[in-house]
């Protein structure tokens, strides 16, 4: 287990690691995530935190938690596998994008340029982890009645959540008709807009079991760097050679 100060919350340690990395040479940063499957309680707080942070519409999900039942009664268990974008170091999705709309940024995060994406969905088909979803322009409140003069109608209800612009990639993305990100491929981006200002990704801070770790794997002092040395470490579908930046602890 990682060396931490007695009583110190892991979030504090990761926060400190994050700020140290941002203060140093940013070109050496390679963001990574580690998810401890033994600690994941399957509460889905990360999923909800991500949806709320990125104002995700219906049918768009960046970080589902896959639930699986294993064993034979009476020896049965449930196990949980949170599945963000793997931010592969050898990503199959960026190679198939015909217009360079999705690419790896300097910090190893696979990002999407919403204003460049043509919405062909080839990257969705190419991703071995089904980590990409397409925004088909749906609204949670589309079937909500909108009676004039009544308490809360569609317009008012949407104001409190989905009419608020998403702030992905440090820009404002108001949800309007055909405008991006409607019609685009969307995916987890390690909450780069938060990271840029020294905040941990939403899924990390909302994880009640402290099962999700985030940091710069090139920073040898960081918690994530220490955890990468664990014999429990593994990656999904390693045989495909995609080299994910998201690791799991068995």
């Amino acid at each position: 287990m990682a060396r931490i100060l007695p009583g110190e919350d892991l979030l504090i340690r990761m926060q400190r690691d994050l700020k140290r990395s941002l203060a140093a040479d940013r070109s050496s940063i390679k963001w990574s995530m580690i998810i401890d499957l033994a600690k994941c309680a399957g509460c889905h707080a990360c999923t909800i935190g991500c949806v709320a942070e990125n104002k995700l519409p219906p049918g768009v999900v960046y970080r589902p938690v896959i639930e699986e039942e294993v064993g034979i009664y009476p020896n049965v268990r449930r196990r949980f596998l949170p599945r963000p974008c793997m931010h592969c170091q050898n990503p199959p999705c960026t190679k198939v994008c015909p217009v360079h709309a999705t690419y790896q940024n300097e910090q190893g995060v696979v990002v999407i340029d919403y204003n460049r994406c043509i919405g062909c969905r080839y990257c969705l088909v190419a991703c071995p982890y089904s980590a990409r979803t397409s925004d088909f322009g749906e609204w949670y409140t589309s079937d909500t009645p909108n009676p004039e003069g009544k308490m809360v109608g569609r317009a008012k209800a949407s104001e409190s959540y989905e009419a608020i612009p998403a702030t992905e990639y440090g820009k404002q993305w108001p949800r309007r008709a055909h405008d991006s990100p409607v019609g685009n491929a969307r995916k987890c981006h390690f909450c780069l807009h938060r990271v840029a200002v020294g905040m941990l990704p939403a899924c990390v801070t909302t994880c009640v079991g402290r099962a999700t770790f985030f940091g710069n794997r090139n920073d040898t002092q960081s918690l994530i760097s220490e955890l990468l040395g664990s014999p429990r470490i593994h990656r999904l579908k390693e045989e495909l050679g995609t080299k994910p930046s998201v690791y799991y602890l068995r």
Binding site: P92, H100, A101, L124, S130, S134, F136, S180, V182, G183
Partner: protein
């Protein structure tokens, strides 16, 4: 083309356009909101039809191969019809694929920021190359008659003058020059066509996470599938519009041969797939033979689209009527081949348990095309039919002095 048949076809096409208008309006206003596919099944009916029309363009390619590679010079007479068929099929294909894009207004991105490591970029390049080749081929094949018609006192004279680019005289030198250009274009179309169909196959074959597609055989199957459906279409059209029994027989034999080879390759694909014992491959294959749409494989493709045509070919290889029917059945049912290529490999979850994590219609792998998808498809196909019969009627596509207009 007889006026009676033209009118019937035109009425069907216009009706299709009117009905399909509802779908097109919905697509243009609401985008992909009312479509049946989602994020785990990212492509649907429009991509199936795009693949279908890619195949139909191969008719002219087959004519080119037979004329310039195998030396069947008699087929030169049907060059114009086949080139025009390619143009219409490419038009339909491009409309289908454009409407499938989430942001088709950004198509210019293919020029501004192309990614040459993506096979979709190469697909766009080769599609445009084919479009240019066959547009030019079509033009040089009909130029002589366009010039002639533009000087005659006939209705639409100004239109023909425009198409003839203002040329009023057509000399023997022009004829020789046009023949040379057509021959050159046909020769260029051979490698271009192979690359075009091969790229379409490779487009799917390179995806390592798709067990059936990810095979070196996929591009080869694509080329064969294209030759089969395109060859069957052109044979059918020649039988109907040219009434040239000899050409129909030659092409019929070629289609028969390609059908047998195609079925053999398909059998090998299943045999090898099942013999590997890999769950991912077997699950996808099971979706084809035992999934919710297995009837499209057994009944539509194998029975109606393969066995009956095989029987017709075997028993009536010299009968133009049998050949016409066999080819029609192959063409019409070929949509099911494309459907069974595309959907089953998408309809298998890549991570076990993913289907239970987040409940939403867009996050399922079960796919049923929506009414909107069907309406848009009807609109595009109707447009294709209307353009095709209009071309046959008002352009010198057929080797008739009246340019196809035969008031019989």
């Amino acid at each position: 083309m007889k006026s009676k048949y033209f009118n019937i076809m035109a009425i069907i096409a216009v009706l299709g356009l009117i009905i399909g208008c509802f779908g097109m309006t919905d697509r243009l206003i609401y985008g992909h909101l009312h479509t049946g596919y989602g994020s785990y099944m990212p492509w649907g009916l429009w991509v199936v039809f795009y693949l279908f029309f890619v195949g139909l363009t191969a008719g002219a390619f087959l004519i080119t191969i037979m004329t310039y590679v195998f030396g069947v010079t008699r087929l030169k007479n049907v060059g114009t019809l086949s080139a025009f068929t390619v143009l219409v099929a490419l038009m339909c294909e491009l409309i289908f694929v454009s409407l499938d894009l989430g942001h088709f207004e950004r198509i210019y991105r293919f020029i501004v920021t192309p990614n040459f490591s993506s096979l979709m970029t190469w697909f766009v390049i080769f599609t445009n190359l084919m479009l240019i080749i066959y547009l030019l081929e079509c033009f040089f094949l009909i130029r002589e008659k366009l010039v002639l018609w533009s000087t005659e006192n006939r209705s639409g004279k100004a239109f023909y003058q425009l198409l003839a680019l203002g040329k009023t005289e057509y000399t023997a030198d022009d004829r020789d020059s046009d023949h040379r250009i057509v021959r050159l274009l046909s020769i260029i179309s051979l490698p271009a066509g192979l690359l075009f169909y091969g790229t379409n196959g490779a487009f799917f074959a390179i995806l390592q996470n798709r067990p059936i597609w990810n095979s070196a055989m996929t591009p080869l199957l694509f080329i064969l599938a294209a030759l089969l459906s395109g060859g069957a279409l052109i044979t059918f059209l020649i039988s109907v519009f040219h009434s040239d029994d000899e050409i129909a027989r030659v092409l019929g034999r070629a289609v028969f041969f390609i059908l047998v080879v195609f079925l053999l390759l398909e059998f090998i694909q299943f045999f090898v797939g099942y013999k590997t014992g890999l769950t991912s491959i077997m699950t996808s294959l099971d979706m084809i033979v035992n999934g919710p749409y297995s009837w499209t494989f057994w009944v539509v493709h194998l029975l109606v689209g393969s066995l009956i045509p095989l029987f017709l070919f075997a028993t009536g290889i010299n009968s133009p009527k049998a050949i016409t029917w066999a080819c029609l059945l192959i063409v019409v049912t070929f949509v099911s081949v494309r459907f069974n290529f595309l959907i089953p490999d998408l309809a298998v979850y890549k991570l076990e348990g993913l289907e239970q994590t987040f409940s939403h219609p867009r996050l399922r792998t079960h796919y049923t095309p929506s009414v909107n998808e069907w309406l848009v498809s009807v609109w595009i196909i109707s447009l294709g039919i209307l353009v095709f019969i209009s071309g046959i009627r008002w352009l010198p596509i057929l080797s008739s002095e009246k340019g196809g207009l035969n008031n019989g």
